[in-house]
């Protein structure tokens, strides 16, 4: 078998239209996951009655099961629920109208939320208790203290783990092909079968993922240098 180098290039170009899909799934699920994760982490840290138990259960169940399983379960259950409700309340909306990518957004956000809640929690735990006390002492409310004092420091502490999660989700987003979303990987599959050049097409996909990952790593390193500036003594 001979490797067709020029087709790798052709495939890379052919994969570009699928890049936004991959990026959208990754960004949406990480951002929603971060929101869910922050809420869950705060519920657990402040031991909010009832909610903290639900939050703990959510984390063990979701982390205890594969991401693909979440996607498949939602994929079969949501239409049942939606159509059931639609029948009962006479909606014109049908589950078939839900875009496929919607399942990926929802499912991966739920997955990411569980993992990111632990990332957020460890970030929050890295912030000294005295910081919130000082915020209270200058007259801030707990919400102000969290937003202005604790979160910025927790973010700096959690950044390396957040980057890991982002990269994990970028690669994990390829599972969306199981619900017929055409991301980079699915597009590579299409190019591979139509041209009968599997190796080249998959290599092209690998190159694109690698490129994006390196980009994320670089950006994260830059950001890390900015947000942890205060921790490196001797600059002034």
């Amino acid at each position: 078998m001979k490797l067709d180098f020029s087709f790798i290039w052709t495939a890379c170009v052919g994969l570009l239209p699928a890049v936004p899909t991959t990026l959208k799934i990754t960004v949406v699920s990480v951002l929603c996951g971060l929101a869910i994760g922050t809420f869950v982490a705060l519920c657990r840290m402040y031991r909010v009655p009832v909610l903290h138990r639900i939050a703990a259960a959510y984390v063990t169940v979701i982390r205890g099961t594969p991401m693909l399983t979440h996607l498949l379960i939602l994929y079969v259950s949501i239409p049942l629920v939606v159509d059931g409700l639609a029948d009962r309340f006479d909606w014109s909306f049908r589950s078939a109208q839900i875009p496929m990518i919607g399942f990926a957004y929802l499912s991966f956000s739920i997955t990411a939320g569980a993992y990111l809640s632990e990332v957020v929690r460890s970030g929050l735990l890295a912030v000294n208790k005295g910081q919130m006390e000082a915020a209270h002492a200058v007259g801030m409310t707990t919400v102000q203290g969290l937003r202005r004092i604790v979160f910025p420091q927790a973010f700096a502490a959690a950044l390396p783990n957040l980057t890991n999660s982002l990269i994990g989700m970028l690669h994990g987003s390829t599972l969306a092909f199981t619900v017929s979303v055409v991301d980079i990987n699915a597009q590579a599959e299409i190019l591979a079968t139509t041209n009968w050049k599997f190796f080249e097409a998959y290599l092209a996909a690998a190159l694109l993922f690698w490129g994006m990952t390196v980009l994320i790593e670089r950006l994260s390193a830059l950001l890390e240098r900015r947000v942890t500036r205060y921790n490196r003594g001797g600059v002034a």
């Binding site: 000294n128 005295g130 910081q131 006390e133 000082a134 915020a135 209270h136 002492a137 200058v138 007259g139 801030m140 409310t141 102000q144 202005r148 004092i149 910025p152 420091q153 700096a156 947000v227 500036r229 205060y230 921790n231 490196r232 003594g233 001797g234 600059v235 002034a236």
Partner: protein
């Protein structure tokens, strides 16, 4: 005037404050002395509700908080009337010296940025840190950090500043600079409650000394009386330890 009445605090079954009554007049400097574990820190933290008292009343002039059923907005109001200087400084680590002082002015007092900045610069100059405005806490010595902490407390223009052993985390050669700043602001008539183990400092700066032991006030009075002719045997024993210590260190 600050008034504590029957302040109680228990951690689980361990009753740490057993009904503290204390009145501090405006402009008065009160030093709280007492052995380790006597509840000095806990009392101070109760005054601005970093610790939740189980019973009692805290009042500042007309404003009073009933510790049995405090409203959230009362706790918030109490915190805005008080300021605290921490043993471990607790400066906001991600903010410069200037930003640390400005933070409360901008976020809590809602001062315009420019005004807050000007006031903060003045205060940092007052504590001798006019050249460290843009330094982060990690770039400052302990003594400098604590002076920023004092400037941060002063900025809020509180009814009272609470100091919890402001120099006990410092290297001996840095203690002097912090005490000098406290001495300076004491002269300006700012009401202060200071927990300290620096006996000679307490004697010099305070108008009123409170001696605590086992979660209760054992004795209180003017420095002269407490240091020279304490009524209680326990006060005498406690102070004797320190005077003999300092006899060696001279």
């Amino acid at each position: 005037m600050i008034r504590l009445q029957g302040i109680r605090k228990a951690f689980g079954k361990n009753e740490v404050l057993k009904g503290i009554d204390l009145t501090v007049d405006k402009g008065e400097v009160v030093a709280i002395l007492g052995p380790s574990g006597s509840g000095k820190t806990t009392l101070l933290r109760c005054i601005n509700y970093l610790e939740k008292p189980s019973d009692g009343e805290i009042s500042i002039d007309e404003f009073a908080v009933n510790c049995r059923k405090p409203a959230k907005k009362d706790i918030h109001a109490l915190r805005r009337k008080t300021a605290m200087v921490f043993q471990q400084y607790n400066l906001f680590r991600h903010k410069t010296a200037l930003e640390n002082v400005m933070e409360g002015l901008v976020v809590v007092k809602k001062l315009p940025k420019a005004e807050a900045r000007q006031k903060s610069v003045e205060l940092l100059e007052k504590v001798g840190l006019g050249d460290k405005l843009d330094a982060y806490p990690s770039q400052l010595s302990g003594g400098q950090q604590q002076r920023v902490g004092i400037a941060r407390a002063l900025a809020l223009n509180p009814e009272v500043i609470l100091f919890d052993e402001p120099t006990s985390a410092l290297d001996p050669e840095l203690v002097g600079e912090v005490l000098a700043v406290i001495r300076k602001i004491a002269k300006e008539g700012i009401t202060m409650i200071i927990v300290t183990h620096e006996m000679s400092f307490a004697q010099e700066v305070a108008n009123h000394i409170v001696f605590m032991e086992g979660g209760a006030v054992v004795e209180e009075g003017p420095p002269k009386t407490i240091f020279q002719s304490p009524k209680e045997e326990r006060t005498r024993q406690f102070l004797a330890r320190f005077t003999s210590d300092s006899a060696y260190s001279i």
